[in-house]
Symmetry: D2
């Protein structure tokens, strides 16, 4: 931490700040300038409010030095993390596409979905068994029955399974069927859920909350990693802004930013990021062009009759065309699909 | 729902929309204008995506008519709801102040807190036993031991108790000790939690999420009410904007807006809404001036040594002065404290 | 400026940063800690990008110390500025209400407006002669003819006149008739306009842009003051957020924040801040309760037939009732109206 | 416009709304449903506040049908607009790169800049002669001298010139030297400037304001087009959000959205959009992948010593590498560079 004293701060004021820092376990280095005295403080407790110091007499500003996350920061693993699940590597040279319907609706629907995503070259099938719906009156998902169908559809096609856990109590059930446990945007700061996921050894895909900063996303990753689970994939899926034409605004720049700040792989979800089918493919292309390690895309064999989020699901032929374009773009960033 | 067709939409396009609406259970009224054909649709299923229609051929725009919440809307109870807990009424003529420390830290701290808030005229003491902290390394709360201390401190002073539930599994425990179950901003859309709270008969204080619209807040209220629990208090506590000087931006205008749209009482939390002690009192005054039914304020007998959120906790003497000012302001809006 | 070097930064890296700082005219103080070397730099050029340093090898973070505004900061005039125009003082004990229609439409309308605002106790009549309309097809204002009518209506009632300048070329004309030159939110960073206003001796009312931070508002104030015009009044009028129910979100907390950071008076404009008549009065009350030095309110003798912004103009009787309530609230903060 | 009456709205209330609509020149079609009466209104005045109706008794909601822009909408020119300037076409098959330094600093700097951008395949050199700086103490540009240098540097390399006009009074001067008049983000709603640009026949590049919605951008385009100047290029350059790691958040999805809503070409400015050199290339790739018609990029022969915005300017070698990657990506969307 660096504390800058006001011009004219008195010695007793400066001493009071030094005492407070020492009390919190910091080593303090004082640098007395012509205009400002600056106190550098290292080694103290992680968690405290900077404002504690900003409200002290004679203090002009306080700045935190250490980033509040350690395990999730790039310096922890400069070479980057590759999450390996059987023969699929996320964070390596190949861009990994995870695709499927919003919800598992019935056996036929999920079978057709898995067949089509496998045929187009995706490696993971996704589908929700429990749906967090903002209305109490909406379709809430098939539960375990849906997970069974999803697993079988995946296995027939040699795909991995990704599915969402809404709550820490659902982990044991979903982990029986899924290779990747998805954490939705609304749960990015559900700390009880994060803590339990830290104890698992199943990889986790953590979505950025719609109003979460990149730093908060990385701090939530830290929460999981501090429990011992390092197999973590981050996901950009749009943030809330004043623009209302798209459901959310996809923060494509978060992709290169996260690659710099953290060693964790990051994928993009253009389906939730835009909420509109006709914007999904352009944004999928943009995400790969910006350096994403993978994509999470909704595709449905018959989007017009989907029980949830049909308007953001791709038609099968759109999905194929998207994969074709992505293969060209991946080459521009020295990757393949 | 109202659907506006594009200029030049063909009869088959119009028929396709009408068929789709009928399929969803709507009664359709067609109005053929010179430029646009407009379809009015009533009585269908609650939950569907407007975009389903916006993506159909020949459709220009679709607008939802019915607000998606019913039980929470003002028309359900035009006279307004008063939540009565023993001799305290929230939503009635008196502005109800709920105050106390961020966390219960030890018996002495919570006793002194309860004494001081009671002496100043507050009716409810608040304090967290489980703390949702964004860092895994921070103080996490005393748990049940804290709840016991909080209840005893309240009873000695004839106060009610408000305390947070972080998770549906904590409800049975917290409900044993608290009169009001608080739902934090991060949990506003934790639908499993909301569903369980709907089955309780303990009043709930629901905080607006930092990126939640007013409509989403009311929809979360609907979730709880649809389970049968109508004793609900809403709380404005700041939204996330581009301004960084304050931790959040308190949306004071949400207070009169909610009063118009809903019958539920609404209180304001200027402590979390601003994150800075010196802004708490002005914003508390603003909230009451704007028509808030109550306040949720952090006060601590010794804020400098608080284990959490000390920099937003009022000093005891500030709290007393705030109460004095609020009594004058309440009179301007025909209320008392 | 404070520059924090990365752990393990080499001596040549540290030297390169010191050289660069010296080149920019800074005195540098080095503090070598166990983990980080910290460089404190004072006295250099005002304007440069912090990022210049953040992109240098071995640098972890750079923080600016001095606030980029000086003349506008509270420390420049700790006692606060009072803008005196004839017998009206803005920034003193009395809360000053400025009111009138959005646009001057005709003589009868502006006369009736001035009469009613004077009768209710306002001190300034406002009205636009040039209207910045976001559609090219909308009413654009009466121009000089409107200014003449406005001045006469004000003089008949002993009121001051506030009117907007859209452009630096309009200053000479508007300054002939107005006592206060209003700068609209869209022009807060029109630097040519600000520069010309700095050369004037007519007081300026500067509105915060809808996406401007408080710091940017103060920097725009600095622009004007650096030209020599210190008679400046700031105005909070709502910022753009994700909430769509209100046109903008009034940032009431900006009022106490500006009072702390700057010596300049600040007023609030609840008419533009909310865009809805039924929210104007609650937000006017909130602004005064939060410490505003004045209000800018739209009122119209016949809002239903206003040529612009009619839906946010108060009815005459609402304006009177608002003034009555504000008198009570002002007393709570030791002020009068 | 569509107006939905409340349940139980009375006949006199409905009649009052119909009368008001008629007064404003609308043809009204009434549709009486079981729950709601719906009024469809076409043909009236363009400019009025929807809220006029929302505040009338018995009205539940009002929705605008016609988009408020006409000339800028896709339906005005379904095939899309190509802006032709000598042998350069913007909006056609080739992606057009416009590049150069933030400011023209001296002859050597601008010559070297023009040489390098031409060598890499860009078609337009950009550079500011007048700089809108948010601090009054910063470098303000070389003025006409800079324009002369810029023109000569361009001509030596067969490039077009793009340069910013800050103000309507600067148009005659800048138009003498520039092929494209750039309107900065802060001026997107400077209506006096837009009006004058409408009278010009020099093509205009209009940047989206940092808090402007896509609809507002198109309405500003309409302003210019309504004056008769149809040679307009739009530019996405980042919006203001709560994320602070990047200076702004580039709204890449605005590119496909604008392509759908409007016939005008749209380019992207990843330099201002991110504010950080190391994010410029990934975002340039993303923009082209999403369908941008061109790019506006800052490049400087020696960014470390640039007088303005040096930290977002590319190094010459980064610019060349970017062009190489963009050629591959352009092919994926059936374009070339």
């Amino acid at each position: 931490m660096v504390i800058v004293m006001q011009q004219g701060a008195t010695e007793p004021q400066i001493d009071a700040v030094i005492d407070r820092l020492t009390e919190l376990g910091f080593d303090v280095h004082r640098s007395t300038g012509v205009m400002h005295t600056v106190l550098g403080a290292v080694g103290g407790k992680e968690e405290f409010d900077l404002d504690v110091f900003e409200l002290m007499d004679g203090v002009k500003e306080a700045h935190r030095i250490s980033s509040p996350y350690k395990l999730a920061s790039r310096s922890f693993r400069p070479g980057g993390t590759v999450v390996k699940i059987r023969d699929v590597e996320i964070g390596a040279e190949r861009v990994v596409v995870m695709a499927g319907p919003c919800s598992v609706e019935n056996r036929d629907q999920i079978d057709r979905s898995a067949d089509l995503v496998a045929a187009a070259g995706a490696r993971v099938v996704r589908g929700g068994a429990f749906k967090p719906r903002s209305s109490p009156y909406a379709f809430q998902g098939l539960g375990e029955e849906g997970l069974v169908m999803l697993r079988q559809a995946a296995d027939r096609n040699g795909l991995l399974v990704a599915s969402e856990v809404m709550d820490h109590t659902q982990i044991p059930l979903v982990a029986q069927y899924a290779d990747i446990l998805q954490v939705g945007a609304r749960n990015m700061q559900n700390f009880n859920l994060l803590r339990e996921l830290g104890k698992q050894r199943t990889p986790v895909l953590l979505k950025r909350g719609i109003s979460a900063t990149i730093e908060e996303l990385l701090l939530s990753a830290e929460y999981i990693m501090s429990g011992g689970n390092y197999d973590l994939i981050l996901c950009e899926r749009g943030i809330r802004t004043f623009e209302t034409y798209t459901r959310n605004t996809m923060d494509i720049s978060a992709i290169p930013v996260v690659k710099k700040l953290s060693h964790l792989p990051i994928v993009a979800d253009p389906s939730h990021g835009t909420g509109r089918r006709d914007k999904v493919v352009p944004m999928a292309r943009a995400a790969v062009a910006a350096g994403a390690d993978g994509l999470l895309v909704e595709v449905h064999p018959d989007p017009d009759h989907a029980l949830s989020d049909g308007t953001q699901s791709l038609w099968p032929e759109q999905f194929h065309e998207m994969m074709r374009q992505l293969r060209i773009i991946a080459a521009a960033v020295e990757r393949s699909i």
